[in-house]
C-alpha cells in the first residue's frame, strides 16, 4: 500500500508537471506572437537593382528621355492593408516630408498608385517617366508636361533655376481604420510612422 501510494505520488507529480508544460506550449501555439508592424518602400533603377537610376548614369534628364524605375512596397503590418503611393514633384525649396511631425510634403501630386496588399506581400511596379515639355521663364525651367506609365500629367507650379535640383518624392500612405481615411504613413499601436523616398534630377534642354 505504501509502495502504491509512492507510485501514485510520483505519477501525480509527473502529470501535473507535464500538464503545466503542455498548457504553456498550447498557449504559445494558439496565441499569435506580437511582432513589429511596418511597411518597406523602395525604388530600384532600370536594372531592377539599386543602381542605374538615370539613363547612362546622367542625372540631367533631357526632354523625351525615358527614365525607368521600379517602385515597390512590402506589407509587414501583419494584416491586409490599403496602400497609396503618392508621387510628387518637388524642387530644392519645397519642403520634403517631415519625419518628426509626420507631415507630408506640400509638393503637388503627379500621380497616385493604390492597391490592397496582403500581409507579407510585396507590390512592385514600373515607374516609367519622361519630360514631354519644358517651359523656360527667366532662367527657371518648368517641366510642364510629364508622361508617367503612358499617362500625361501637367505641372505649372514646380520649376527650378536652370532646371537643377528637381526631385520626385514618393510617399507611402495607408488606410487608417481609426480615422476612416488614408493617412501619411501608418499607425502601430499608439505610435505613428512614415516612410518616403526621393530621387533628384535636373531637367535640361538639349544644348544646355
Amino acid at each position: 500500500m505504501a509502495r502504491l501510494s509512492e507510485d501514485l505520488k510520483r505519477a501525480v507529480t509527473i502529470f501535473i508537471s507535464a500538464t503545466i508544460v503542455f498548457s504553456t506550449l498550447a498557449y504559445v501555439a494558439v496565441t499569435p506572437r506580437p511582432r513589429e508592424q511596418f511597411f518597406q518602400i523602395y525604388v530600384l533603377g532600370e536594372t531592377g537593382k539599386a543602381e542605374r537610376y538615370y539613363p547612362d548614369g546622367n542625372p540631367n534628364i533631357l526632354v523625351g528621355r525615358v527614365v525607368r524605375w521600379y517602385l515597390g512596397t512590402t506589407n509587414f503590418m501583419g494584416s491586409v492593408q490599403y496602400v497609396v503611393i503618392k508621387a510628387k514633384l518637388g524642387n530644392s525649396t519645397i519642403k520634403a516630408p517631415d519625419d518628426v511631425n509626420r507631415v507630408p510634403s506640400p509638393a503637388p501630386v503627379l500621380l497616385e498608385f493604390k492597391k490592397v496588399v496582403l500581409s507579407n506581400e510585396t507590390w512592385e511596379f514600373p515607374f516609367v517617366w519622361e519630360i514631354r515639355e519644358i517651359n523656360v521663364d527667366d532662367g527657371v525651367i518648368y517641366p510642364t508636361v510629364f508622361e508617367i506609365n503612358g499617362m500625361v500629367f501637367r505641372n505649372s507650379q514646380v520649376g527650378a533655376l536652370k532646371g537643377h535640383n528637381l526631385r520626385i518624392v514618393f510617399e507611402l500612405w495607408s488606410f487608417d481604420p481609426e480615422s476612416d481615411r488614408v493617412m501619411f504613413g501608418w499607425r502601430t499601436g499608439v505610435e505613428r510612422r512614415v516612410a518616403w523616398l526621393q530621387i533628384w534630377f535636373n531637367a535640361t534642354i538639349a544644348g544646355t
Binding site: K114, V117, L118
Partner: protein
C-alpha cells in the same frame, strides 16, 4: 463707368470660359452631384469591404480565400479610379455607372468576408479547443510512459546489483 461694365462682362466671360475649358472640375456642383455622390458611396462601400476582409483575416481565414477577396477589393478600387477619371472628364453617367458596379462588388465582398469570418472563427475555436483538450491526453501519456519507464529502469538496476552481488560471492568462494 463703361470700364467697370466691361470689366464685369470680361469677368463673367472668363468664368464661363474656365468652366468649359476644365471639364469636371469647373462644372457646377449640381451637375456633378450624381456622379460625385456615387463615387463617395463607392468609396464608403469599399472601406466597409476592406474592414470586413480584415475582420475575416483576424478570425484566421486561410490565405487562398483571403487572396481572392483582396483581388476583388483591388477590382473595386480600379473601378472607383475609373469613375473618378470619368468624373474629371465630365462623363457623369459613366462615372455613376462605374461607381455603381464598384459598390456591387464591394457589397459582394462584405457578404463573402462575413461568411468567411464566421467559418474561420468557428474553425479557430475548434482548433483551440482541440489543442487544449490534447494537453491532459499528452500529460497522461507522458505520466504512463514515465511510470513504466521508471519501473523498468529500477528493475534493471536491481538486477544489475543482484548480478554484482552474486559474482562477488562466487569470487569469494573461489578464493577460499
Amino acid at each position: 463707368m463703361l470700364g467697370l461694365v466691361l470689366l464685369a462682362v470680361m469677368t463673367m466671360l472668363g468664368i464661363v470660359a474656365f468652366s468649359y475649358a476644365t471639364p469636371g472640375v469647373g462644372l457646377p456642383a449640381s451637375v456633378l452631384g450624381g456622379g460625385n455622390e456615387a463615387v463617395d458611396e463607392a468609396n464608403v462601400e469599399f472601406r466597409r469591404a476592406l474592414m470586413a476582409v480584415r475582420e475575416a483575416e483576424a478570425a484566421g481565414a486561410d490565405e487562398v480565400r483571403l487572396r481572392i477577396l483582396v483581388e476583388k477589393l483591388n477590382w473595386a478600387l480600379r473601378m472607383i479610379d475609373r469613375a473618378e477619371g470619368l468624373l474629371l472628364r465630365g462623363n457623369i453617367e459613366g462615372a455613376a455607372a462605374e461607381a455603381e458596379q464598384s459598390m456591387e462588388v464591394s457589397r459582394g465582398i462584405v457578404s463573402d468576408a462575413l461568411r468567411l469570418r464566421d467559418e474561420s472563427s468557428l474553425r479557430t475555436y475548434h482548433g483551440k479547443v482541440f489543442t487544449f483538450a490534447m494537453v491532459p491526453v499528452a500529460s497522461l501519456l507522458v505520466t504512463v510512459g514515465a511510470h513504466y519507464g521508471w519501473k523498468w529502469w529500477r528493475r534493471r538496476e536491481i538486477d544489475r546489483m543482484m548480478r554484482m552481488e552474486i559474482s562477488g560471492l562466487r569470487e569469494s568462494e573461489e578464493e577460499t
